[in-house]
Symmetry: C2
Subunit: 406 residues, 2 copies
């Protein structure tokens, strides 16, 4: 007997038939003797509709009212699923965030969970065998009002609930069968991974493999919650996201990720003096612009070139900000390029294996793909290349690291 | 300066444009110097959709889950209206039933309001000039879960809030301009009434003039809340529903109502002994069947005929119940007729005027309409006639009592 949190995303509860299908899956786990808690998202499309209404009434709407409006999507699903479960003989009840309560901070629209008071849920799991059907994405703020966690927040709700319930596993049901070695739309031979570490999952998520919300993975890593990502439409086993210790045979490289959402900015002939990086990146950070890759060449003639990437949507604001501080910094010029892609090789195994980066560079060179920027972390090597080479590079790397399905 | 509760029904908040229109109306009252609280229904059609989903998943669904699901409609509207109000510079915030709280009994799906703890709303009205936008139709049960008040319950929410706030008036905005002397679809010359008493409103509502939920009028009468019924689509003044004392010039007859929702049942040759009525109507009441008109003729040959009406939908169950108790009662036979209509003449003035009923009988006789059953109350005379004569009877009576618009 295990205690399991099952989380179902919007496409898994998109209509009544799918809600019935979810109920049947929950019943199967209950009948297998497990203690089951469920977390649900809004029916697909509902949240978008509610957000659009708020936007249409006021582009700068009160985030507290926005939260009250958009949190209703999950409330509907949890009630409907509780009814569907009862109909097939499973003891169940819905729980809104304020009822449990799921306490969050006061950052409406992007709140963080502080505490889940799960005593009553545990009591009912143990004594009644009652399945709690919990509204994802929402909580109760210190002002006594409904908060929401930001898009994709239901994953975080599920992981936080699993931690609070000391669950053995948190199953995240979605519309894909798990985490793949790369995007199957680009590489037909992409393989589903059986296991992946939290760190790898984070690196893959942050470079565009949007299976799980980043924050939910961070929380799972911190709280040691074992996550399983799997499809609600098939019975295939999914991908386990676990602690590195749980993986005996570590792959050197687990996956290839890519992102076309970046733009490159080069600040030319920056005076090479201490504090110059802070003088450039400080104002950008204050303007809420996230800088990703950063490289600085060694100086020549007392000046240096600084290259970095920002989200494409932030490029105009970045250019404006840099123009503003041109006098203070004293650089020569700015060049930008939005026609770039970041391709990354991710794997915890590279900590103990040399030559991972050189395999990458060689594979790209063989396809005559020019590398514009390189950055590395402990478990990731990323390169910036021309956007037109994205698919070619991903396929070449997938083969070079032996990831192609047999 | 007055304190006003404004209540907007589903058609008044059916889309974003109408919500903006409602916001403009609220702003007008605020700018006139009034303290304003708002109660909203769900956007038209939303509640029906949510109810249909619950029904489809389980015809005998858990009423507590039903409440959690259907209460979301009002939550969406209240948040959206608060945003729309803020957008045009009116200080506002949404309130769900559990936040105020609006405490109800535990009868999920048809709960009754026990208490509204309105201190914080009053404080905000007085010190911040903040408009509370309250979710109608919902409250918080003793089990800590969301309750709903039954269809049309938002009217009751509004009246209860007006009582709790000690408001000077409760304005019920709807899609008609007020209460009419009769159904304008039948009588083109029907007039809008400027004022009507609670008692008259109750009699009109209970015989099919569905402008206000009956319970809301009972509550208003008990709490002495002045109601105004008016349209959210025009600027015409509506109908005031007030205490009899407030009406100086009392009309003898205020309106003609009708209902095609009744069926006639006659129990023939019932032994004429004490307790026989109880023996028949007791079992019907236990089966949840509401009996409306009842007449019993004087006995002949030691037996009597008992005639009464029930809602058309209850007719099959009534027949079954009567068959069940045939042995015990010892009647001869049952005859039923679903093809009947009840037409009523309503007016507080008839208390002090004789001849109201005879005017009615004469008017019907002139049109050769046969009267099957007659019942009278202090302020109402009702007759049961063949359904095909409904319009003819209503028009004849409207003219006979001098109600036609000039």
């Amino acid at each position: 007997m295990a205690r399991i949190v099952m989380k179902f995303g919007g496409t898994s509860v998109a209509d009544l038939d799918r809600i019935r299908n979810v109920a049947a899956r929950v019943k199967r786990e209950v009948e297998a003797g497990h203690e089951v808690a469920v977390v649900v998202s809004a029916m697909a499309g509902v949240t978008n509709q509610l957000v659009a209404w708020c936007q249409a009434l006021s582009p700068l709407h009160d985030a507290r009212e926005y939260d009250a409006v958009v949190a209703t999507g999950e409330q509907v699903t949890s009630g409907l699923l509780a009814i569907a479960l009862q109909e097939i003989g499973v003891e169940a009840r819905s729980w809104q965030g304020w009822q449990i309560p799921i306490l969050t901070d006061g950052a409406h629209g992007r709140a963080r969970i502080l505490e889940i008071r799960a005593d009553e849920l545990i009591r009912r799991l143990q004594t009644l065998g009652q399945v709690p059907v919990v509204c994802g994405f929402q909580g109760l703020g210190p002002d006594g009002r409904i908060t929401t966690l930001g898009r994709g927040g239901s994953d975080t709700s599920a992981v936080a609930l699993a931690a609070a319930l000391k669950a053995d596993r948190c199953d995240i049901y979605t519309d894909v069968e798990g985490v793949f070695t790369t995007d199957p739309r680009i590489v037909a031979k992409a393989r589903k991974l059986d296991k992946i570490t939290y760190e790898e999952m984070l690196e893959l998520a942050s470079v565009g493999a949007k299976v799980l919300q980043t924050r939910s993975v961070e929380l799972a890593m911190k709280e040691k919650v074992r996550i399983q990502v799997l499809s609600s439409f098939t019975d295939a086993p999914g991908t386990l996201v676990v602690d590195e210790d749980e993986i005996v045979e570590k792959e050197i490289v687990s996956g290839i990720a890519y992102s076309r959402d970046e733009a490159k900015v080069t600040v030319r002939k920056v005076p090479d003096r201490p504090g110059i990086a802070a003088a450039i990146f400080g104002p950008l950070a204050e303007a809420g612009i996230n800088v990703d890759m950063i490289v600085q060449n060694v100086a020549a003639d007392g000046t240096t070139d600084l290259t970095f990437t920002v989200a494409k949507a932030d490029l105009p604001r970045t250019e404006a900000k840099l123009a503003e501080i041109k006098e203070t910094i004293g650089y020569a010029e700015i060049t930008t390029d939005a026609d770039v892609a970041k391709v990354s090789v991710v794997g915890v195994g590279m900590r103990s294996h040399a030559g991972v980066a050189s395999t990458m560079f060689r594979a790209l060179a063989e396809k005559a793909i020019n590398i514009q920027v390189i950055t590395t972390s402990e478990i990731k090597v990323s390169v910036l290349i021309g956007a037109e080479y994205t698919e070619l590079a991903v396929r070449a790397l997938h083969t070079a690291y032996g990831l192609d399905a047999g």
